[in-house]
Amino acid sequence: MGIGRLLDISVRTMSTYQNALDVTSNNISNAGNAEYTRQKVLLSTEVTQGGIGMGVKLQDVQRIKNNLVDSQIRKYQSSLADSNLRSQILQQVESVIAEPSDTGLSYYINDFFNSWSELSTNPNSSQLRSQIVQKGQRMSERFSEVFDGFESIQSLLQKQATSTAGEINTSLALINELNQKIYETESRGMNASDLKDKRDAQIDSLSSLVNISVTENKDGASVINIGGVHGADLNVANSFEIKFVNGQMKLVSQTDSSASVQLSGGEMYAISDLYSNKLPSYKSQLEELAQVIVNKVNDTHTTGFTLAQNGVSKTNIPFFGETAADGSIINSFVSGKMRINSSIVNDPRNIAVSSANANDGNGDLAITLANLNETSIGELSGKTILDAYSGILSDFGMEKSKSDSTIESNELIINQLSVQKASYSGVSLDEEMANVIKFQRSYEASAKLVRVADEMMQTILGMV
């Protein structure tokens, strides 16, 4: 019986250390796998019998994980993804705005007003008059190019939103599927560490797309909540789609469109915020500026007299738009386009810069119009045209700059958190190799004990 116990302990020990070596080898083979969470073998002594120890047993294989660090990483990952995409899109907007350069709006606005200044030196010059029309058209085209650029970026954002919503749905379906597999595996008393790693990776990836909160229920399933709307759990995976309400892009549940996600992070937030708020705001500020230029130029121009044609000058002619039958100015600024009066485009003599009738050498209003670029304008909150434009540029530049700094700070934080995660959950080859030696030695020693037990048996058999 005594020798049998020895054999029994030895065999159990060999089996235990073999299992321990399996876990260690799994750790070693996954040392380069960033998604992998290291596993630790928990050994304990076998229940004693009659005061004598019965050897060792593998009590558990533990997944070494720090949930707090994981949730922090997801939080900052979400913010980083938002800032990253925001910065990329704003970079596209930045190339549309093209400031500071000779192709920016400021250049064309200045050029337009400077051309009025030049007309003051020779008010009846047909060449200088044609130049004003050309500069006005170029300024108008540049405004249009900027507006078109914004619209094209918005259209891309719309497509990207649909694609991102699809990715969110796929991710939620996968998490739901993994929740079920983990539940089934653990119900059978098996270790589901690898499946949990996959689920964690999927949740991490989802956090880059949209702001989420994750809790674990009593069945061990991850319950995902997306901005206040249920995302996935053990039983169901919700599906989302993009809806537009009053020009605002919303992520809503496909089954209940009133369940709108409160976006605050991830790529989806960047897409939605830029599409619904930021781009329309930049566009409307620029439209307002263009409208003020149109109105102010018209206010002065309509008071002026054209070059005398057959001895008569015309007056009350708008530079932008046309005069309607009721005397009002129409079609001066339509769909982002400043439209120069066709009678001026066709015949620049109709530019009206004289403050007196049939006074072709009078360029008083050309000077007034040139001065407009340096005058504080009430409609622009007392700013000059350039200052108002600089204000718009400043808002935009600060937003892009803020995104870039957020990327930098988030990268730093995520790096620190990733280091913490790698320190806590990562595989150390030194540690694992030490374990290999330790477990191998224990296994060898146990094998030796079998031989000792065998020799003891042989000794007893030799006595017979």
Binding site: Q91, G104, Y107, G361, G363
Partner: protein, 292 residues
């Protein structure tokens, strides 16, 4: 802290990425020769550049206006010179009429004086780039002509218009001598009075000659105004040149790179990169595994 291979790799990649980003930024500045390429590179500096560029554009426009204005005034001066030369000839010829021996030459002298008067009127009707130099702002007709009695008349009732040119921010200069001013100098009326006498075959009286000399002096005073305008425009042009130079210097401060400094910075980042690579090559693969 438990240092795993993952910790070392994470740190290495993060630092490597930062060095690469810095190198990319430096390379971009070197190749574009600009410190600020986009708004977000430095919002404050970018807005300053927009504002400075705008100032430079305006200065260029003012300088162009000054050049045009000076051309106009120089044309005025040339016309004035021509008119003055003819006036001096008139003074000289009128003086010869006082000499009794020239009495028989009166018809020739009178014709010569009339030619000079016509030449003066032609000078006063000169144009520059389609603009009557002395017609005020009314270009519908020649400012001066002869009436049926052969007297010089100012044609327009509004020949007093000023041709103003923008030469600075909210700052204009009047560049023309209007027909009204010439008319008010006394020159035209004194010329007409002399012509009256000549048409009667008489020599102008001393009073008439003195009045004409006064008109001539008044005309000279207007020419002096032209000279003063040129001088003032030259001064403004000089001021604009200085302002342009200062603004360009400010722009260079905001925009231009220091290639030497950037290259040294780039070299430093390259050292860091090499050092990081070397250290990583030494540390990363080493573990107990290498010694078993």
């Amino acid at each position: 802290m438990r240092v795993t291979e993952g910790v070392i790799t994470e740190k290495y990649i993060f630092n490597q990425n930062r060095i690469n980003q810095k190198m990319l930024e430096l390379q971009s500045q070197l190749t574009s020769n600009k410190k600020v390429e986009n708004l977000s590179d430095n919002v404050g500096a970018a807005l300053d550049i927009v504002s400075l560029d705008s100032k430079l554009n305006k200065f260029d426009s003012y300088k162009k206006n000054i050049d045009n204005a000076k051309n106009f005034i120089n044309s005025s001066i040339n016309s004035f010179d021509n008119a003055i030369s003819n006036m001096e000839q008139i003074i000289q010829k009128v003086e010869t009429m006082d000499d009794a021996i020239n009495k028989e030459n009166y018809p020739t002298i009178i014709k010569s004086i009339k030619d000079s008067v016509e030449s003066i009127v032609r000078s006063l009707n000169e144009k520059h780039n389609g603009m009557y130099l002395f017609g005020g702002t009314n270009y519908s007709q020649e400012p001066f002509s002869f009436d049926a009695d052969g007297k010089i008349v100012l044609n327009s009732a509004d020949a007093g218009g000023e041709l103003k040119v923008k030469v600075g921010s909210n700052f204009t200069e009047t560049i023309n001598i209007s027909g009204d001013k010439i008319n008010n100098s006394g020159l035209i009326s004194s010329l007409n009075a002399i012509m009256d006498k000549l048409n009667n075959g008489e020599a102008p009286t001393k009073v008439l000659k003195d009045t004409f000399t006064e008109g001539y002096n008044g005309f000279l005073a207007l020419q002096t105004q032209n000279g003063e305008k040129i001088n003032r425009l030259d001064d403004i042009g000089l001021l604009l040149e200085n302002n342009t130079t200062n603004t360009q210097n400010l722009l260079v401060d905001k925009q231009a790179i220091d290639p030497a400094k950037l290259i040294v910075d780039l070299q430093y980042q390259d050292y860091l990169l090499q050092m990081s690579n070397k250290l990583s090559a030494t540390i990363l693969p080493k573990s107990l595994l290498d010694y078993i």
